[in-house]
C-alpha cells in the first residue's frame, strides 16, 4: 500500500482541497434542513411571508455554493485520479520492460499484462470512488450526527443504535458474500476453460465424437455456477430492503419519542422535521460507505499484485561503470564450463558446457526437444545469467557488457517469431535507424522481397498487432530480416527455418552464407540436412554436450547424433 500511496505524495494538497470542498459541500447539504426548520418554526408559526422568502433565498444561495464546491472537487479529483493511474501505469510498464526473462518466467506474461492493465484500472476506479464517495460519506455522517445532536438532543442515542445495526448488517453481508464471489470466479474460469476447450479442440472433439462428454462437463459447471448465483443473489437481495427497514424503523422511534418532546416544548416541530431529514442523510451516507466496502477489498488485491511487480528488482542488470568493458567487435563466442538452472528446478537445464564459436564459422546445435538448445543460446545475449561458469563474447564475460552494447553485437531470430504493430519497414528496422537500402537488402536475403513487393504498400504495408496479418512463414522471414539488418557480428538462428518450405530454405541459406562470411553463426535446428556442412556441430542431450565435431565424424563417434541423422536421411546419405 505504501508504494502505491507514494504516487499520491505530490497530490497531498490537492487531496486536502478536495477534502475541504467536499466538507463545505456536505455542510451546505446539512444546512438546508436547519433553514427549513426556521421556515416552519418562525415563518409559518408567525405567518411571516417575507421571512420565508428571505430564508428561501438563503437556501438557494447555500445550494448553489454546494454545487460549486462539488463540481470543483470533481474536477480536481478527475484529473488527479487519471494522472495517478497514468503515472502508476507507466512505472509498472517501465519496470516490466526492465525485467529480463527470469522475471517473466516468475510472473508469466499473461499475469504481467493483467497487472499492467486490469489491476491498474481497478485501483484507479477505487481511488475515484474513494475520492467521490468514501470521503463525503463519513463527513455527511459526522456532520449529520452533530446537527442531529444540536436539534434532537436526546434523540441521538437512537441514531447510534441504528447505525450500529446497519454496520452489523453490512459486515454480515460482506462475510457471507465474499467467499461466494471467490467461488463464483473459480466457476466462471472453469466454464471459460471448457468453452475454450470446445473451441480449440473442436476438430478433435468431433473427430472422436466426444461432444457428449464435453457437454456433460459444461452442464456440471453450469449447474454449479447457477446455484452459486442463486444463493448469492438471495443474500444480496436481502441487503437493500433490510437497510431500508432499519432506517424506517428508526424514523418511527424518532417520531414517537420526538412527539413527546414536542408536546413538552423541549423541541420545536420544525426541529423534529429537520432531525428526521438528518436521520435520512446519515443512513444514506452509510449505504454509500458500504459500496466502497465492496470495492476496496477487490482493489487491495490489485494493489498487492501491482506492488509485487514494482518491488521486483530485475536479476540482470548492467554492471557498475568501473566494471564496464567494451571490447572490439569480432564476434567470438566462448562458453567455459557453463551450467544453468532455472529457478526452483531440480536438474540444471544446461550442464558444464564448454565450446567456442569463431567468426567465419557456422556452429550448429542439435538435440531433442528439451535438451537445452534454446536455453544455451539465450545465455549469450544475457537473457539469463549463468549459474556457474562463464559466457564470453569477444573475450569478455557478458556480465561486464552494457546490455545494449552486448545485444547490438547479436542478430537473433528466436524460435517464436514475434512481430509488432507498425509496418514491415518498422519491424525490420526496430528503432535502430537502419538505412532503407539496408532494410531492402535484409529482406532480400531473408527471401521476403517477393511477398513484400506483392503488397500494395510494399515495405510500408501495415503489420497488425503481434503480426496476425501475415502467415507463419512470412513472419519467420521478417524475423530473420530483422536479425540480419544491423550487420551483427554474431548470428543466432533458433530453429528459424522451420516454417519455410525446402525451396525457400535453401535459397535463404545460400544468400545468408554470403552475408555471414565474417561473422559467427550459431544455428539451432532439428533438421540434419540443414547442418551437414556446418563447421562445428554440438550435440546436446539433457543439457549436456554428448558430441562435438563435423557431420562425418559425429556419424561415427556420436550415438545420439547417428540416431537423429538416421531418422532423417537415407542409408546412402548416412554412408
Amino acid at each position: 500500500m505504501k508504494k502505491i500511496l507514494s504516487f499520491l505524495k505530490k497530490d497531498v494538497y490537492r487531496i486536502l482541497i478536495i477534502f475541504t470542498l467536499t466538507f463545505l459541500q456536505t455542510m451546505t447539504g446539512l444546512f438546508l434542513p436547519s433553514l427549513m426548520s426556521d421556515i416552519v418554526d418562525i415563518g409559518i408559526v408567525n405567518g411571516d411571508t417575507p421571512f420565508i422568502l428571505k430564508i428561501g433565498g438563503i437556501m438557494l444561495l447555500v445550494a448553489f455554493i454546494g454545487i460549486l464546491c462539488q463540481i470543483t472537487a470533481r474536477f480536481i479529483s478527475a484529473k488527479l485520479s487519471a494522472r495517478f493511474s497514468k503515472n502508476l501505469r507507466s512505472s509498472i510498464f517501465a519496470k516490466v520492460e526492465s525485467f529480463s526473462l527470469p522475471e517473466f518466467d516468475k510472473y508469466s506474461t499473461a499475469s504481467l499484462i493483467t497487472r499492467c492493465t486490469n489491476d491498474v484500472t481497478q485501483v484507479q476506479h477505487s481511488l475515484d470512488m474513494t475520492l467521490r464517495m468514501a470521503l463525503s460519506a463519513p463527513l455527511t455522517a459526522i456532520g449529520g450526527i452533530i446537527m442531529a445532536i444540536r436539534f434532537g438532543k436526546n434523540l441521538t442515542w437512537i441514531l447510534i443504535f441504528s447505525c450500529t445495526a446497519l454496520v452489523f448488517i453490512m459486515i454480515l453481508n460482506f462475510k457471507l458474500t465474499v467467499p461466494k464471489f471467490q467461488k463464483i470466479q473459480k466457476n466462471v474460469d472453469k466454464l471459460n476453460l471448457i468453452t475454450r476447450e470446445n473451441l480449440s479442440g473442436m476438430r478433435v472433439i468431433r473427430a472422436f465424437n466426444a461432444e457428449g462428454h464435453q457437454n456433460e462437463k459444461f452442464d456440471q459447471a453450469n449447474k454449479l455456477l447457477t446455484n452459486l448465483h442463486l444463493v448469492i443473489g438471495r443474500i444480496m437481495s436481502l441487503l437493500q430492503p433490510m437497510t431500508m427497514l432499519i432506517m424506517n424503523l428508526t424514523t418511527i422511534v424518532v417520531v414517537w419519542l420526538g412527539s413527546r418532546m414536542v408536546a413538552g416544548y423541549s423541541i420545536k416541530v420544525g426541529e423534529m422535521m429537520a432531525f428526521l431529514q438528518y436521520v435520512m442523510q446519515i443512513m444514506f451516507s452509510f449505504q454509500m460507505l458500504s459500496m466502497t466496502f465492496i470495492i476496496i477489498p477487490r482493489a487491495m488485491v490489485s494493489v498487492r499484485r501491482i506492488e509485487e511487480v514494482l518491488e521486483t528488482e530485475p536479476l540482470i542488470k548492467d554492471p557498475l561503470a568501473e566494471d564496464l568493458l567494451s571490447p572490439e567487435k569480432l564476434g567470438r563466442v566462448e562458453f567455459e564450463n557453463v551450467s544453468f538452472s532455472y529457478p526452483n528446478a531440480i536438474e540444471p537445464a544446461v550442464c558444464n558446457v564448454s565450446f567456442s564459436a569463431m567468426p567465419g564459422q557456422t556452429t550448429a546445435i542439435i538435440g531433442s526437444t528439451g535438451s537445452g538448445k534454446s536455453t544455451l543460446v539465450n545465455l549469450i545475449p544475457r537473457l539469463y545469467d549463468v549459474s556457474s561458469g562463464s559466457v564470453k563474447v569477444d573475450g569478455v564475460d557478458v556480465r561486464h557488457f552494457e546490455q545494449s552494447d552486448l545485444r547490438d553485437r547479436i542478430g537473433y531470430a528466436p524460435q517464436k517469431n514475434m512481430l509488432f504493430a507498425g509496418t514491415i519497414e518498422s519491424n525490420i528496422d526496430f528503432a535502430r535507424d537502419i538505412e532503407f537500402k539496408r532494410i531492402e537488402e535484409a529482406a532480400r536475403i531473408a527471401q521476403a522481397s517477393k511477398f513484400i513487393s506483392e503488397k500494395e504498400e510494399g515495405f510500408y504495408s501495415p503489420i497488425a498487432q503481434a503480426g496476425t496479418n501475415v502467415s507463419g512463414g512470412q513472419k519467420q522471414r521478417l524475423s530473420i530480416a530483422r536479425a540480419i539488418a544491423n550487420h551483427p557480428k554474431i548470428y543466432i538462428f533458433d530453429d528459424s527455418f522451420s516454417s519455410l518450405d525446402f525451396k525457400t530454405e535453401s535459397n535463404l541459406k545460400k544468400a545468408l552464407n554470403e552475408e555471414t562470411k565474417d561473422s559467427t553463426v550459431l544455428l539451432i535446428t532439428q533438421r540434419v540436412s540443414t547442418i551437414i556442412n556446418a563447421d562445428k556441430i554440438i550435440v546436446l542431450d539433457n543439457g549436456q554436450v554428448v558430441g562435438m565435431g563435423k557431420h562425418k565424424d559425429l556419424l561415427e563417434n556420436c550415438k545420439v547424433y547417428y540416431e537423429i541423422a538416421s531418422s532423417q536421411l537415407t542409408k546412402e546419405e548416412l554412408a
Binding site: 448465483h229 414536542v262 531433442s368 498487432q465 496476425t468
Partner: protein, 657 residues
C-alpha cells in the same frame, strides 16, 4: 480483451486484400469480412468488459425490438413468476409511496397541538398512525425481499438456459463458422454477454416496475397535497432530464475516445510483453517506452475528461433536486401561512420531491441498461440462430468392418463462394494404401482432411468409403472410421489416462498402457511420478509439446480405426523419440488406409500415392518415382531440399534404385 480482439480484427480486415496466396489457408479463412461486420457498433469498444471498462459506453443493438421479443420468448415459462415479481415490486413501492403522507399527518397533529392546543397532543392518534407506518414499512421490506428472490431466480434460470443452449448449439454448427470467427469473441458471448443479460435483467426487472409505480404513485400523492406545488415541481423535473441528456450526449464522445485510447494502450502492453524477448534482444526498450508514454498521455487526456463529465451527473441532478427542495419550502411555507396546506404536508412533499427526482434520474440509466442487455442478447441469439449442419439422424450408422477403400470422384470444393480451390479431383485409394499430401507451407494441405472428416462438405462430386458416399453416412460415423492426429495437439484438463482413453471411454488400463507403449509415451508417463494419474493442468503447460504429441498419438492408436489421418504427426516430437514413433506408426498404418500430411521425405518416399498441392490445388498426383520422372513441381521441391547433399547423388541413388 474483446476490444483488443476487435482491434486486431479491424486490422485484419484492412489488410485482407493484400495477402492471398502466400498465406496459410487456415489464416485466410479466419477473415471472412462479412461475418465480422455483424458486430454491432462496428466492433470496437464493448463496454462493461475487458481491461478498460471503466465507463459506460452505451452500445446500441441493431434491432432492439426484435431482440427484446426473442428474450421475452425465453421468459415465457416464467410468466407467472414474472407477473408475481412485477406485482410484488409494484406493491412494495406503493407502500413506500404511502408512508410520507402518513408521517406528515403526525407532524401536522404535533404542529396543531403546539400552536393551537397548548401542547395537548393526541398520542393515541399518533400511536395509531405509527402502527400503520410500521405495517407499511414491514410490508415494503417483505415484498421487496420476495420480489428480489423471484427476479433473481428467474434471471439465473434464464442464464442457465442460455448457457446450456449455447453449449448444445456448439456441436451443431458447421466448422466453417468457428474457422471464420475469433474464438475470443465466441468465448465472450458465452460468459460476458450471458452475464450481462442475467445481471441487467435482474436489475431492470425490479427497477422498471418500481420506477413506473413510484412516478405514478408519487405524482398522485403530490397532486392530492397541492396541485400548485406539483406544478412547480414538474417544471423542475424536465430541467433534470434535459440536462442529463445533454450531458450524456456530450460525454459519449469522450467515453468513446477513452475506450479507444485504452484499447490502444492495452494492445501495446499486451504486444510488448508477449514480444518481450525480441524487444530485449533488439534493444527496443526506449522505443517501446516512448510509444507507451504517448499512448498513456492520450488516455490521460480523454480519461479525466470523461471522468469529470460523468462525475458531473450527480452534483447537478443533486442541485436540481435541491432547487426543488427550496421551492417546496418557500411555496409550502407561503401556502401554510395562508392555511391552504398543513405543515405535515410540506414535510411529506419534501419527501415526495426526492422520491420523484430519483426515478427520473434513473430512467436514463435504465434505458442504457436495456440497450446493453439487448446488445448482449443480440449476440447470444445471433449465435443460437446460426445455421446448423444438416440433420443426419436418418443417415447410415453402425458401419462395422469397413475395409478402407477411399474414392474421390470429381470433387470440387472452395471455402469461399466462387473460389474453388479443389477443382475436379479424382483418386482411387485402395484399402491399406498410404497417401502423402505434399506441398509448400500454406498450400492448403488440410483441406482434404476437412473434407474426409466432413468438417466441410464438398461443393460437388463425391467421396466414397467402400463405395458408400460419405454424405449418406452420419457425420459421427464417418469420423469414427478415422483415427486422427492433428497439427495442433489438443488435450484437456484431466489425467493422462482420461486423455488417452478419450476415444474409448470404457478402455481398461491394460489397453491404455498398450497404446501408450506403442506411442512411446509410456516412458515419460511412468517417470512423471504419478503415472497415468498425473493431471494435465488447465493450460496443458505441465507437459512438453513432444509429450502432448505422444499422448495424442496414443489416443489415436487406442481408437483403432480402419483409416488414419496424420497431420504433421511427428513435427513436435524430438528427433530421437520420433524414431520410436515412426516404428509405432508403421505398425499402426499396417493394413489401414492412411492420409499423411508430411514434410518428411522419408515418409513421402514410401507413400503409395503422393498428392502435390500448391495454392490449394492438387497439381500433381502419383508415386515418388513417377513424380520425379515427371520433373514438375514435386521434383523441384524434392531437389531443393537436398541441395546441400547435392542433386547428383540423389539422382544417382534413384538410378541405383
Amino acid at each position: 480483451m474483446t476490444q483488443m480482439n476487435n482491434n486486431k480484427n479491424n486490422n485484419n480486415n484492412s489488410n485482407n486484400k493484400n495477402s492471398s496466396i502466400d498465406r496459410d489457408v487456415s489464416i485466410d479463412r479466419s477473415k471472412d469480412t462479412s461475418s465480422q461486420m455483424q458486430r454491432p457498433g462496428g466492433g470496437r469498444g464493448r463496454p462493461g468488459r475487458g481491461p478498460g471498462a471503466t465507463m459506460r459506453l452505451v452500445e446500441k443493438p441493431k434491432d432492439f425490438k426484435g431482440t427484446m421479443k426473442k428474450l421475452l420468448r425465453y421468459l415465457k415459462p416464467y410468466w407467472f413468476m414474472l407477473l408475481l415479481s412485477i406485482i410484488f415490486s409494484a406493491a412494495s413501492t406503493l407502500f413506500n409511496v404511502l408512508s410520507p403522507k402518513e408521517m406528515g399527518k403526525i407532524t401536522t397533529e404535533l404542529y396543531e397541538a403546539v400552536t393551537h392546543r397548548a401542547g395537548n397532543v393526541d398520542f393515541a392518534l399518533i400511536g395509531r398512525i405509527l402502527l400503520i407506518l410500521l405495517f407499511l414499512y414491514l410490508s415494503n421490506a417483505v415484498f421487496n425481499i420476495i420480489q428480489g428472490f423471484i427476479s433473481n431466480s428467474i434471471s439465473q434460470k434464464l442464464g442457465f438456459t442460455l448457457r446450456k443452449n449455447m453449449a448444445d448449439k456448439f456441436n451443431k454448427i458447421p466448422l466453417k463458422f468457428f474457422d471464420t470467427k475469433l474464438h475470443g469473441d465466441i468465448l465472450s458471448i458465452v460468459t460476458n454477454d450471458i452475464d450481462t443479460i442475467t445481471f441487467t435483467f435482474n436489475q431492470s426487472l425490479s427497477q422498471i416496475t418500481s420506477t413506473v409505480t413510484q412516478v405514478v404513485g408519487v405524482l398522485v400523492m403530490m397532486l392530492l397535497i397541492s396541485p400548485l406545488m406539483t406544478g412547480v415541481t414538474l417544471l423542475i423535473v424536465p430541467l433534470t432530464t434535459i440536462f442529463v441528456s445533454i450531458l450524456v450526449k456530450k460525454s459519449q464522445k469522450f467515453f468513446k475516445a477513452q475506450q479507444r485510447n485504452l484499447g490502444n494502450l492495452n494492445g501495446h502492453i499486451e504486444e510488448m510483453f508477449s514480444g518481450h524477448l525480441v524487444m530485449k534482444i533488439f534493444n527496443g526498450e526506449k522505443k517501446s517506452l516512448e510509444d507507451f508514454s504517448h499512448l498513456n498521455e492520450n488516455l490521460y487526456n480523454s480519461s479525466w475528461k470523461s471522468q469529470f463529465l460523468s462525475g458531473l451527473m450527480m452534483p447537478v441532478t443533486g442541485f436540481i433536486g435541491n432547487l426543488g427542495y427550496v421551492a417546496v419550502c418557500i411555496m409550502g411555507g407561503y401556502l401554510a401561512v395562508k392555511q391552504t396546506i398543513s405543515v405535515g404536508d410540506i414535510q411529506a412533499f419534501i419527501r415526495y420531491v426526492r422520491q420523484f427526482n430519483h426515478p427520473m434520474s434513473q430512467t436514463a440509466g435504465i434505458a442504457n441498461t436495456l440497450q446493453s442487455t439487448a446488445a448482449a442478447a443480440e449476440r447470444v441469439f445471433g449465435f443460437l440462430e446460426e445455421t446448423e449442419e444438416s440433420d443426419d439422424t436418418d443417415k447410415l450408422s453402425n458401419l462395422n468392418n469397413l475395409k478402407g477403400n477411399v474414392t474421390f470422384e470429381n470433387v470440387v470444393f472452395g471455402y469461399d463462394e466462387g473460389i474453388e480451390i479443389i477443382k475436379n479431383f479424382s483418386a482411387d485409394i485402395k484399402a491399406g494404401q498410404k497417401v502423402a499430401i505434399v506441398g509448400p507451407t500454406g498450400a492448403g494441405k488440410t483441406t482434404l482432411v476437412n473434407l474426409l472428416m466432413r468438417f466441410y462438405d464438398v461443393n460437388s462430386g463425391r467421396i466414397l468409403i467402400d463405395g458408400i458416399d460419405i454424405n449418406d453416412i452420419k457425420r459421427s460415423e464417418v469420423r469414427k472410421q478415422f483415427g486422427m492426429v492433428l497439427q495442433d495437439t489438443w488435450l484437456f484438463n484431466g489425467t493422462l489416462f482420461e486423455n488417452i482413453a478419450y476415444s474409448l471411454p470404457n478402455a481398461s488400463l491394460e489397453e491404455v498402457r498398450n497404446a501408450a507403449q506403442l506411442a512411446s509415451a509410456e516412458h515419460f508417463i511412468m517417470s512423471s511420478g504419478q503415472g497415468y494419474d498425473m493431471v494435465i493442468n488447465e493450460e496443458a503447460t505441465n507437459i512438453s509439446s513432444g509429450q502432448k504429441q505422444l499422448l495424442t498419438i496414443a489416443r489415436t492408436i487406442l481408437s483403432n480405426s480402419p483409416m488414419l489421418i496424420l497431420d504433421e504427426a511427428t513435427s513436435n516430437v524430438d528427433t530421437r523419440t520420433e524414431i520410436l514413433i515412426q516404428k509405432a506408426m508403421d505398425n499402426l498404418m499396417e493394413g489401414r488406409t492412411s492420409f499423411i500430411i508430411a514434410h518428411r521425405l522419408s515418409t513421402i518416399k514410401n507413400a503409395d500415392i503422393i498428392l502435390v498441392i500448391n495454392n490449394g490445388e492438387i497439381i500433381e498426383q502419383g508415386n515418388h518415382e513417377e513424380l520425379l520422372e515427371k520433373d514438375g513441381f514435386y521434383a523441384t521441391l524434392y531437389y531443393s531440399q537436398f541441395d546441400t547433399v547435392s542433386k547428383n547423388s540423389i539422382k544417382r541413388n534413384n538410378q541405383v534404385d
